[in-house]
Amino acid sequence: MPSLGADMDAGTLAEWMKKPGDVIHRGEIIAAVETAKGVIEVEVFEDGILDQIFFQPGQEVPVGQVLATICAPGEYQVTKAPLEAPATVAELPTVEIAKPNGPDAAPAAQPAAAPVATGPVRISPLARRMATDLGVDLNLIHGTGPGGAIQRADIEAAAKAQKAAPAPAPEPVPTPVPVVEPTKAEIPPKVEAAPPTAPAPEAKKAPDYQTAMRQAIAAAMSRANRDIPHYYLETRIDMSNAMRWLAEENTKRTIKDRLLPVVVLLKAVAKALTEVPELNGFWIDGAHQISESIHIGFAIALRQGGLITPAIHDVDTKTFDELREAMNDLILRTRGNKLRSSELTDSTITVTSLGERGVEKVFGVIYPPQVALVGLGKIIDQPWAENGMLGVRPVLVATLAGDHRATDGHKGGIFLEAFNRNLQEVEKL
């Protein structure tokens, strides 16, 4: 179970996208995990064959616990071992705890226990959540989707049936209900010992994502304010050139390909970071680690409240069009609850843009273990003095929150200066 954030200590396995014996490639998505940040797709970081899986959808797994093993193509053996009790699974050796930013999704160690031979319940995360919400036991449902997958309709039918037939039926005759297959556990025992009023086992409460996300943000931000000695810098940037360039560029583009100012701003941040790499990286275990790649965590507010800062990878090497596409994709997936594990763990710096609602400047809180956060306000027409003349210009206030353990204000100043310079020469970005 990878750590998908500094404050995550467990996740619930939602779905396996691959099954034992499947050939998998680096970067492929093998599983989906439910966390405080929604359902995250877990990628693998090596090629091979999915050998054994140790957890089934619905199980909560601590961070660092082995989810599955991957073996080299030659090593894979089809094992026909019988289904092991879950107790064996719990005894599996834990492998190293994933580092906050380590892409150690695929464990290297080979646990010795017998494999789980059954296939997972085939169900989409959405349907799974629905089942939890409605208190429907997935094991009692026959999926009618492709490959026996459980679909929304199945859940709805099962929920209806459950409602129609209260769990402790007065008649000991099990009434067969559509889709739900009664199991031994469900058939009311004929013995008197069980009181007829005994309540059905309470359905697991649906996870409250709002609360979970608030707690995740609370933990990360408390840690930031406790551990990071922040310093703050602010600069005003004349955006005339950048906005003119953008307007002209956009007249040449169809509506679908038009660039939003934020694309240009992110690119300018990334280019400035190549000049001041000290702000791009982490503070881990008392040491400053500069990252070579520039992965910008872009704060995206969610409609239902809370925010996520998924990483846009390698911003410095992307063209404007690649960046526009990457952002489009990322924002849609963030809101659609379809992020990948690397996007939650890879950010090397955060950019937050709060200009949408007229905020002029943002003094941000650094997301640990990162060492800097860039805040962008609204671009507003303001008085601007230059060459002894007073004029009106579109002005952006950019701020930098820096970790004083890693850098000093002087470095931060050089960064903001480079950022400004890049925005005066957008065509060179």
Binding site: N250, I255, L260, P261, V262, R303, N328, I331
Partner: protein
Amino acid sequence: MNTSELKQIILEELGKVAPGADPNDLELDENVREGLDIDSFDHLNFLIGLHERLGVDIPEKDYGKLNTVNEILQYLSAVKM
């Protein structure tokens, strides 16, 4: 296409970029970005949606004329009818 059909399309496209919010609750003279709490990204996707449904190309310089449902309706009626 009459005005009420056009209005229906506008509300549908707004609904797509603001899931969870109901565009029917908007006052016709209310700023749609504020009323539905959508950002510039959603707004652009809304305009792209209108472009695909109606085949109108809205130049960037006209974005400022499209703040409320009434304004959008007026603008599209002028181009479309």
